[in-house]
Amino acid sequence: MRALEMRDVKFRYKGSEKRALDGVTLDVEQGEFVTILGANGSGKSTICLLSNGLIPHAISGDLEGTVEVFGKDVRTVSVADLSTKVGVVFQEPESQLFCMSVEEEVAFGPENLAVPRDEIIKRVEWALDLVDLKGFNDRSPFNLSGGQKQRVAIAAALSMKPDMLLLDEPAYALDPVGRIELYSVLRSLKEKYGLTVVLAERDAEDAVAFSDRLVLMKDGVIVRSGLPREVLRDPHVLRSAGVAPPQLTELASMMNSRLRTTDLSFLNVDEAEIAIVRNVLNPGGVGRP
């Protein structure tokens, strides 16, 4: 059973003339970390809204094709049922935080599911630990930094013990260090607990190194899907989809044309360092410049 299975999905928001999704087929395996890249209006948020059932249950429009989340058709399963399987984190943490303390915030979801008290306490501690906010229980969410607020929102989603976490541009308002911290937490949740992560991003720079797979969208269709290295191979494809290629992708592509090869691709600074030293700065190895 897959975490998400979309088959030739078309969706048009009510009152809109254009389809937001125009024939999307996408599988996300359990435990996979998939990053959906695309410009504004490419359809990435619509995929998130479909995967937690808000489309079609709360947001109306014309839906064609099938969407299954953990084997259940989103048309027939309720949003409440899906909420125990799928957690969602949106752009603005403030839009999701409303309690007086971090602890209340994180306990809110399981309380509403009538989870026993002892279990809730355990889950709150577990979730806060996972997002590196141990000991923040009594702090007010509103006096935290942007990055901390976003991590409270993630802990609140995790306390429901979801099998899949959907994040729609969660790093939107975070500073560079906060952004890397956020992606690292997501990656470790995948590694430790097999959490399925679906991340929608407009900015490829930092997220790609943490992802198992990239899905590139443009105008409601998937234009590329594969390992980060494959999808990033051609910066022109990214650019034509309105996504800025990561700097290291551009560098690799320039080096490839300079060295008349197609071999180089860098997902992180370490890879780039090794490749440049081997290929250009010190091709013969140590001691032979």
């Binding site: 410009a39 906060g178 309105g242 700097q247 008349r260 030293v277 250009v280 700065l281």
Partner: protein, 286 residues
């Protein structure tokens, strides 16, 4: 055109911030003693982590906030002695969230509002509005209701309504948040154009790639203080200090620094610059 300074003293200095302290709640300092001088025609990026004081400092520059201690002078006069309306002539501020400043029923009205309030009339007013609309590529959209447009377009409206006032200093607070690549490139090149016209640009951002590409001076803030004030190359060379300020340089900058131990010399701010350094003196590529 752009108003000239009243006197030529202060070597073209437009804004001086001296030892400014400020707190929103009287307890936690948002600015803990900031000193900064802005000269005419500069392109300055103010960077720093969430909550470092960037936006507070920006709001000091146009008098939206007044210092609890220390002074802010705009064109030689303290902001305490000038109203926000007076200051708006010289210092324009484009908010982080464009919807905070949009309220008219058409784009044209929105852009007209500011200069009209400053007393501009007739042809002079129309010219300013027309030029601002053109600069931000909004002429086609001038009769549309602002709130029916996309985020990128709304942000361009909020900037057009600021530049229509012909202010000589323009502050952009996270102007590219929510924009995609094409919209970001378009907006940044419009801002470059405004700088080339001689306007002073203050860019507040988290995006170090924008800083590397556009700014000529970088002010790094951390916990309400300025911890570094230099050019982009200088700012990016102090990795530890940047990290302590929740900032990371763009990946190519880090890569260029790592490659120094293999004989690479010089700093790189872009992939093109790094490529040049890597292949410098390596004519015969295998």
């Amino acid at each position: 055109m752009i108003p000239r300074p009243d006197s030529s003293s202060h070597d073209e200095r437009i804004i001086s911030v001296n030892g400014v302290k400020f707190s929103y709640d009287g307890c936690v300092p948002a600015l803990a003693g900031v000193t900064l001088n802005l000269k005419r025609g500069e392109y300055v990026a103010i960077v720093g982590g969430n909550g470092s004081g960037k936006t507070t400092l920006a709001k000091m520059l146009n008098g939206l906030l007044k210092p609890a201690s220390g002074t802010v002078t705009v064109r030689g006069k303290s902001t305490l002695d000038q109203s926000v309306a007076e200051l708006a002539r010289y210092v324009g501020y484009a908010f982080q969230n464009p919807d905070h400043q949009l309220f008219c029923s058409t784009v044209d009205d929105e852009v007209r509002f500011g200069p009209h309030n400053l007393g501009y009339k007739g042809d002079d007013l129309s010219k300013k509005v027309g030029r601002a609309l053109e600069t931000m590529r909004l002429t086609q959209l001038k009769d549309k209701p602002p709130l029916s447009l996309t985020l990128g377009q709304r942000r361009r409206i909020s900037i057009a309504s600021v530049i229509a006032m012909d202010s000589e200093v323009l502050i952009f607070d996270e102007p590219t948040t929510g924009l995609d690549t094409q919209e970001t490139d378009d907006l940044m090149s419009s801002i470059e154009g405004l700088n080339r016209e001689g306007r002073t640009i203050v860019l507040i951002t988290h995006d170090m790639r924008l800083v590397a590409k556009h700014a000529k001076r970088v002010v790094v803030m951390s916990r309400g203080r300025i911890v570094l004030d230099t050019d982009p190359r200088g700012a990016f060379s102090d990795l530890d200090l940047l990290r302590a300020s929740s900032m990371l340089p763009p990946p190519v900058v880090i890569l260029a620094q790592r490659l120094k131990k293999y004989g690479l010399s010089g700093e790189a701010l872009s992939p093109e610059e790094l490529l040049y350094l890597v292949f410098r003196g390596k004519g015969g590529i295998r």
